[in-house]
Symmetry: D2
Subunit: 381 residues, 4 copies
């Protein structure tokens, strides 16, 4: 087929560098598209690891300085998969260089950074997207369709949580390679920006804007050894964060995230209760959607466990046959597919940098309320 | 209210003596009925335990010989809750004395006994019933209604199993008080008569007659100490039993029971697959019915987990409010309620002794096939 | 047996009148106890319905004025199952008359009422208890034992919700017989006192005192026809209520209740995350406890679905055999059993009126915070 | 890295052609291996579709005659993903040409074909494997490890089923492109070879040889239009098949497969009950293993739902992070990884052609018993 190449330059070779690379490598195997990503270069600080990553995924070249990558003429798109403290600078430079920009979430470490990033891509007029991949879980996309069709009627309640348990040990250090998420100067915040940001992005996409929040946060373990300094240092991130919210549509919401919920590895769940129907979804069984419809015949009403593996489910016609489930990595493939379709059609799919900013306004309000002890209004993006 | 007393004489004070007594004691608290059971007498071999049981449940008198009980003029109904080897003799004598007869399942130790029992109650023209209580689980009754309404369309498959794990230890003796179920001379058979009989009764009630079966049985532990003789004796019962079957309606079936399925205490499950819809039920969550309807809109098809606690579910208007579940003992209360309504209306509810005989014809064929290694036809009751 | 009679006078013949009467009727059938409740009198406003209730449950007499009941010499215990606005007056009079007092939850319509009630029973020195029945679900009692044994280690998180959907229709009126729960003058509050009170009682029993809360409430349908006046009137109750909390032990909590969660009838769930282990329980499958223990061998760690039907589970040795579940009504039977054991042993089991007051202090703080928009401290009982 | 190329020639571009191609394309992205598959050629009858498939997956060349493919010097390995009636001829020719051979399951249409195939690869001494991919589900591999460690103790019961519902409509034709599975001359049999073969392969791998079986089969819809002839023709395949079995180790088994189980798309479940522990797995939630261990402390025994996504679970260290599930396609990737490791280490991983033959001996006995109505012995491979 006569697909057009799209030359990709990736920054970062960690966990997210892998999920993005896999998405670029796989998307044309399953989706009929006009564009085909070409892995031109990967950029990382550690030369050996960068080279190994490039070999493993077939990147044509390596860079050690992202500025060089951004300047390269043979790159169409900069994909940012490096730690949060690098997002703003790289994204802004890439936009100014006229590159398309994809950025891992959260967009910035705070809304102030994100305001500048959104402005940069919009000013440059370049396609942009934030990797809030959970929108592209087929079950979540089906939820979106059901809501947009009005099946739920008036929405009364939204509840989401994202529970993990991997930082309970006091012996876990903070900072450095795999542990930058515990270092507040790099991450910006703890679970609020890491986990709640996912919940908030999905929530506003499904249920509209959030008007105000009241929140609490906690750091259960106050000091941890820092990998870079070797010293025991104060932990600046929030280990747990929860907030009550009111949406613009009048519905009430509860959000919670923590890394101290023993027994849960990555339990992102969301539930929406409407006048006529309700929806529940759970990342630990991401291939299912739970659906209750009050319009079903009385004695036969029940929560339906829908196995989202049929050809008439979102994205699933591109995969296998009914009953055969896909997994986590496919959400990234779907996001790339939608992005490439958007390039062809001219209709940009979300979440854009502006959408990412909207989420950062909520996380900022959450962190502010956790300090003030009051309800805080959420700024609009 | 002007309820008519129904004078009950119970034989046996074991596990089933308790469930029956509770049903008699509770039924008028929850169901509006013309009749009210009055606990006149309980009969047992051990005088002290019989007296204690009578005191606990409010029986007015005790007997140590069931023949005396059967002869008493002040008794309307004989309820048999003693071990299997006593069923036939007591039931036949009670029928001949003109008493109504309720009998714990299985009806006889084999079809030969049951043939005589069914003949006796029919010849005497006395109301009779076998305590296959699981028909009266609200979820199972709802399944019956759905099938009778034709919701499933043509039935292709029936599968049932009843799994337990309480006899795995080699140290468990056989025979005597609580362990007569392991003594073949008392019980008649092992899991075939004890557990499969339940599955078969429900199956024929829901799906019609069984034409033929092929079976296998196994006794995993060949010898056990006998409580009555004190000696190690050959174990005569089947520890596990499974069979394939063809129903008269053309559907195929699989049945299995065992007391060697580690992790299952009383896991009776049944599933029916029809042209349009399927049903699944599980005794370990007896207050739920799983229902799948292919006529639901394509992308929203899923198994519905119906919480059977609403007023429009069978029997449930008599209990609490939606969401509040009932348990095992209620099935017996429902059976008594239906029996008493039958007395008032003149329409006898099943399962009758003849229904109980039909089940014993199947279990006989199963045990015969396990010996012959061939498909065996099932005699009709 | 030589059980001592305990003469009961019941006020109210509604839903709770039935659950309490059943508990008094059943408790001696299953629990070996020194005391035996005797149903002396039931008191209600509607003479015909009161008489019918008395007949159904075997109360020896009826009263139409609770003051008469309280004065009767042949009554040992007053059990209050009438609407919330009657609790305080009856309970205080009963205590002053030297009667034992059992009171349906919530204790008062607010803490001010409950303060007087707790003082009255303590001043009179009479046994007293509030019917927070969910403490006596065997699975919840097992959770209590596990926590008290230190199995969970430090507690990080507590989350509870109680979701219903029965008031979503705009056509549902407020006030009168079955609908007094929607009439704020009778009920005191909406879901805060009705549903959250249950969650709070269990939570403080399991996890200790709550220090402070921040809350939001909502009344989705602002006006409803009032059954007593026949007019459309403002709805004064909260339809939904949610709050964040901090426990004295440093753990964080989220609580939510609503009657607008489509698909949930009485979904009371609770989860506790500790350093070593976590617990989850759900009223819709009340016979199960979900338990995760991090100390299990790595690759075999998983949430255990424990079927709470064994003889070594709390209360279960008194019921049937492993695998056979009990239901909602049994929690009340257990509560009476514990109360009667407490009379014999002299050790009063909770929840006492003072425990009920502690819960009302929390619900008061919740309602206050929903007004103030601030964190509110919780008064100690 | 200095990986060695392994030149692959694929026959067939259907559903299985895709799963295999994906496995070859992905395996080196995730597994550190000495060998790297190179997609040299794909062979198919329809030139346009073959070319499109080659373009989509990056095959370097196309062939229209498998004989040409087998003769090519630049091909190391022939992978057979074409319909069953082509397996034997291609595999034997490939082996004789000295190629490694991978063959989609079932190995032959019957054991007679498979005997010749196994002989051919063994005589040629070429590496060979059958694509019974479900052995490589991480949860199933963990089950294998647990059994091999003796955790279950003596095995009493094995039960497996594979339920689908895609052929219920009478309007579905048989034969041709996607429907060759309904054409007995191409497929060899119906669900026995298609679905039960999977169950049998896993079962014998986990639990050893099967000694004898008794079976029943049914063809619910007797005639269907044939796509190739355009005429209504007799349906020769079995729509449903079930059998009882005795394993060499003394355990009892039940197997069932059907395409008439409404509500199930590809529900392959297996359960094993041992003296100490039991295991359950379900393809519809393939990333979970259910495990019950009787050696757990009494009141805390329960089925554990193990989310198989941790680094210490089989294969999972190569994927994402705990909590993030993989799907169906990954089983093929694992199989290729193991095959390539086997090439490097010299230890051939199963299932070999001889293992595939062992399964075909069982399916032959099943089909024979369904005719004879008797227990049939199973020939050993």
């Amino acid at each position: 087929m006569s697909t057009k190449p799209l030359h990709v330059g990736l920054v970062g070779y960690g966990f997210m560098g892998r999920t993005h690379s896999n998405a670029f490598a796989q998307v044309n195997h399953f989706f009929p598209l006009d564009y085909q990503p070409v892995l031109k270069a990967v950029c990382g600080r550690d030369a050996a690891r960068t080279a190994a990553f490039a070999a493993q995924w077939g990147y044509e070249s390596v860079e050690s300085d992202w500025r060089r990558l951004v300047e390269r003429r043979d790159i169409d798109l900069i994909d940012i998969a490096s730690p949060n403290d690098t997002h703003a600078e790289i994204a802004i430079a890439a936009a100014q260089a006229g590159k398309m920009v994809l950025c891992e979430k959260p967009l910035g470490r705070n809304a102030a950074e994100s305001v500048r990033m959104a402005a940069a891509v919009e000013q440059a007029g370049v396609p942009n997207m934030v990797w809030y991949n959970y929108r592209r879980v087929p079950a979540v996309m089906l939820a979106k369709q059901l809501i947009d069709q009005g099946r739920l009627g008036q929405i009364f309640h939204y509840r989401a949580k994202f529970l993990q348990d991997w930082t309970i040990s006091r012996d876990l250090p903070q900072g450095g390679a795999a542990l930058w998420r515990l270092d507040v100067s790099v991450a910006g915040s703890g679970v609020t920006g890491d986990l709640l940001a996912h919940c908030i992005d999905t929530a506003m996409w499904l249920n509209g804007s959030i008007d105000q929040v009241t929140a609490m946060t906690e750091t259960f373990i106050k000091e941890r050894k820092h990998n870079l300094t070797g010293k025991v240092e104060k932990v600046g991130i929030d280990d747990a964060s929860a907030f009550l919210a009111r949406f613009a549509n009048g519905s009430l919401a509860i959000f919670e995230a923590t890394r101290y919920a023993r027994g849960h590895k990555a339990l992102y769940t969301l539930e929406i209760n409407g006048e006529h129907a309700s929806i529940f979804w759970d990342l630990h069984d991401l291939h299912r959607l739970q659906y209750f419809d009050h319009r079903d015949e009385g004695p036969l009403r029940g929560w339906r466990s829908i196995h989202i593996t049929d050809g008439d489910h979102p994205y699933m016609q591109h995969w296998w046959v009914p009953g055969l489930q896909i997994g986590y990595e496919h959400t990234f493939i779907h996001q790339v597919a939608d992005f490439l379709e958007g390039l062809a059609s001219g209709k940009a799919p979300g979440p854009s940098f502006r959408d990412g900013l909207a989420t950062d306004h909520v996380t900022d309000a959450v962190l502010k309320s956790a300090q003030s002890g009051r309800w805080e209004p959420v700024a609009r993006a």
